[in-house]
């Protein structure tokens, strides 16, 4: 494997982790807003469970987003200029939403009197983010780029906003967010032995699962003519995509399997299957996207850093991962396993 292939694989791992964690994070914020309307409501526990997960984890999830950006610029400094020219405005919008979302979420914890209003703002701004992040992928397809007379690049907003593929990407982002967060929280509620909350989130997962698959298909159908290079490549990965759909199908079936205690759904298996589904699909998509980071301006080879820096970064990521794993395990035990935490009000 070349340096560039290893680097893009590491980036892909980070992106994959963040796409799942981010979906759960922003989705949980939205569900906690939706179910937190009235503390006497029968579904109010669903908000508590979402918050129990969100409170300790949102900072960690946010760090994965920064990690992805830092790793991208560190491994592929040659891609920075073109990506920045195109993504300045969309990414700044995400940053504003993200800031308002996190700040208002923390405000809501501290000021119970206005908690409801603050939570609505934080829930809605958070809900909007994943779609926009997935929308960034649409920009890298080519076709929405204006070449300026001075040799620079700019985003052609007219073409982008008129393009159905943008909306397919947005829909896919939102469907993933709502599906995976509901599924994850169902499993989290199961872990907490909270049967009523479990039923609430399982039902949502059952609804959003097929919608999510549908939006994924919409993305592939709506590819613009400029992305024909990608469509060609995607055809070569067909086997992987079929496997990915199969993983989804198996996982979805397990939402209806009866457990020993009489409740319906083996959500832990579904979570694992859906994670595999995303791993396979995003890997195949990523492979089809190569060698381009930004079609046709930036390739892996034109973006990659020098060998000396690459080696240092590789050592750095290895050492830091080894050092952090025990801390992540401790975190997992305290907030995702410990019944004393899971059952608190």
């Amino acid at each position: 494997m070349t340096d560039a292939t290893i680097a893009i694989t590491i980036l892909w791992v980070f992106l994959f982790i963040y796409s799942l964690l981010g979906s759960v994070d922003f989705g949980a914020g939205f569900w906690s807003m939706l179910f937190g309307r009235d503390s006497n409501d029968k579904d109010a526990r669903a908000a508590v469970v979402a918050n129990n997960f969100l409170s300790p984890s949102w900072k960690v999830t946010n760090t994965f987003l920064v990690l992805f950006v830092v790793a991208l610029v560190g491994f592929f400094p040659g891609a920075t200029y073109s990506l920045a020219s195109l993504l300045l405005v969309p990414v700044c919008l995400v940053l504003v939403l993200l800031t308002i979302r996190s700040a208002f979420m923390v405000y809501a914890y501290s000021v119970s009197k206005y908690g409801r209003t603050l939570r609505i703002i934080s829930g809605i701004t958070g809900l909007l983010i994943p779609g926009l992040l997935v929308g960034v992928l649409a920009v890298t397809l080519g076709g929405f780029v204006e070449e300026l007379p001075d040799g620079g690049l700019a985003l052609d907003y007219g073409a982008l906003l008129k393009s159905p593929t943008l909306y397919a990407h947005l829909a896919f982002g939102y469907a993933t967010e709502l599906f995976f967060s509901a599924l994850f929280l169902a499993d989290y509620a199961q872990e907490a032995h909270d049967a009523s909350t479990y039923r609430v989130y399982r039902r949502l997962a059952v609804i959003f699962g097929p919608l999510n698959l549908l939006t994924a298909l919409l993305v592939t159908w709506s590819m613009p003519v400029e992305a024909s290079w990608l469509v060609e490549n995607l055809k070569h990965e067909m086997l992987w995509f079929l496997l990915s759909i199969a993983a989804f199908a198996v996982g979805y079936v397990f939402l209806f399997v009866k457990r020993a205690d009489g409740s319906i759904g083996r959500t832990r298996i579904t979570v694992i299957c859906v994670a595999i589904q995303y791993a396979i699909a995003s890997f195949a998509y990523g492979r089809a996207h190569l060698p381009y980071i930004l079609y046709p301006y930036v390739t892996l080879e034109s973006g990659i850093t020098n060998p000396a820096m690459f080696r240092s970064l590789l050592i750095g990521y290895t050492v830091s991962t080894i050092l952090l794993i025990p801390v992540f395990i401790l975190f997992w035990k305290l907030f995702l396993k410990d019944k004393r935490y899971l059952k608190q009000e």
Binding site: V60, V89, Y107
Partner: protein, 453 residues
């Protein structure tokens, strides 16, 4: 076309500078407060005095609110670096990517242990709780040091060769341990800790100024005040010593920065130290300043015979803006002012310890200003450091105009972000006020509970 470019670069600087200035408020407290929490936890452990546990708990609550803004604003500046300064980041990715990468590790460390300290405190043993808040401090401090390393490298870029505009012979660790690394790292840490300590002083003084309080409540705030004063004294002393080293490093590595800071035009030995005054670049004169003859030479090289480079040695278009002299004076003035104040407070405390005489009211008024003053010193220091490096983004390697993205959207984005920052500053203050009004310390103090039984 050229004019548009200049405007785009200026707007990029304005947008990034404002974002940094906003982030620095929260990030500095995010570095300083964990140290104070660790100190309070240690005092609790040593003295078994519940008041210190309550101090730690309340500061942790404040820190939790501040991190709600510090983390996304840090995300903003981190991502904006790549968006607004892609020319700069192209070189960063080649030469100085390591501190950014290791900083991620520090971020994770801080985020994970912060969650553990806040949300799992009741399930941890005392030792583990102390350890987790200690790791929060380590993570926060490490990320401050690492990001400052990138800034240090911009002043003293090493670890690569630039041949015909191409970067070769990259040595990532030589870039990491560039000549300014240690002085800059010390500076950012001691000033961050100092600000955290003085903010604790500010909040204690604010409550001590209220009249008709229970003796119990006064005793509690007095403990917070003295803990802040002692740490503040230590850190401002270390900052002063480090400031001296920093000045000598400027003399060696960035002579035009020192010349601009001191408004020195002609290269000379026995160079004077200029305090205050208005600098006129055209006539090369200073009005209303106080000159201490020979002291700049002494400061730069420990001898009055040291030759200090003047601005006239470099082309006029490469001069930094000369207002940096005022910024430099303000920064140093605030630093020494706080040091003197902390010395006075410690002296008073030990002088009247036996009699238990309280601080005079005017002194408590001044104490209540120390936190914001310290933060102002840091803001001014950053503006000084980055303005006095101009016109360079990377000293003698890359000009700011080459580093910036030229985009017409900068102006609109500037307005958008500034509005968000203003909104968040107001709301964060309100949330703090609201929370601590709703949860007064008197309701947490043990004696109070006994009294109501």
């Amino acid at each position: 076309m050229v004019d548009i470019d200049v405007d785009a670069v200026t707007m990029a600087r304005a947008l990034f500078g404002t974002s940094m200035a906003f982030h620095i408020i929260f990030a500095t407290l995010g570095v300083g407060l964990p140290l104070m929490i660790v100190c309070a936890e240690i005092m609790y452990w040593r003295r078994k005095d519940r008041d210190y546990a309550i101090l730690a708990r309340r500061w942790t609550k404040a820190l939790g609110i501040l991190l709600g803004v510090a983390i996304p604003s840090g995300t903003i500046v981190g991502v904006m670096l790549a968006l607004l300064w892609p020319g700069f980041m192209e070189i960063v990715g080649q030469v100085i990517a390591l501190p950014f990468q290791i900083e991620m590790w520090a971020f994770f460390f801080e985020a994970l242990f912060m969650a553990i300290y806040i949300y799992a405190a009741d399930r941890l043993s005392n030792g583990l709780r102390l350890l987790s808040v200690f790791f929060v401090m380590v993570g926060a401090s490490a990320s401050a040091v690492l990001i400052t390393d990138a800034q240090a490298w911009m002043n003293t870029p090493t670890g690569f060769k630039l041949i015909n505009g191409q970067i070769t012979d990259v040595d990532p660790w030589a870039a990491f341990f560039n000549p300014s690394f240690f002085t800059s790292a010390q500076h950012v840490l001691t000033t961050g800790y100092m600000t955290g300590a003085f903010f604790v002083v500010t909040s204690a003084a604010y409550y001590l100024l209220k009249r008709n309080q229970q003796a119990r409540v006064i005793a509690y705030h007095r403990k917070g005040l003295m803990l802040g004063i002692v740490i503040g004294l230590l850190m401002s002393l270390l900052t002063a010593i480090n400031g001296h080293e920093t000045a000598q490093a400027l003399h060696r590595n960035n002579p035009e920065k020192l010349a601009a800071a001191e408004a020195l035009f002609e290269t000379t030995t026995h160079a004077p130290l200029l305090i205050g005054g208005i600098v006129d670049a055209d006539t090369q004169t200073v009005k209303y300043g106080i000159e201490l003859p020979g002291f700049l030479s002494f400061l730069a090289g420990n001898s009055f015979d040291t030759e200090v480079k003047g601005l006239n040695e470099i082309p006029r278009e490469d001069w930094p803006p000369l207002f940096v002299h005022t910024l430099f004076n303000l920064m140093v003035g605030i630093g020494f002012g706080l040091l003197a104040l902390a010395m006075f407070a410690v002296f008073w405390h030990f002088r009247y310890r036996k009699t238990g005489r309280q601080f005079p009211r005017w002194a408590v008024y001044i104490f209540s200003l120390t936190g914001p003053l310290s933060l102002l010193g840091i803001e001014i220091g950053w503006i000084f450091s980055c303005s006095a490096r101009q016109p360079w983004t990377i000293y003698h390697v890359q000009r700011t105009s080459e580093a910036a993205l030229k985009s017409d959207s900068m102006g609109t984005l500037f307005i958008l972000f500034v509005s968000v920052y203003v909104l968040l500053l107001i709301l964060t203050s309100l949330v703090m006020r609201f929370y601590f009004k709703r949860h007064p310390v008197s309701s947490e103090l043990p004696e109070h509970k006994e009294a109501t039984l």
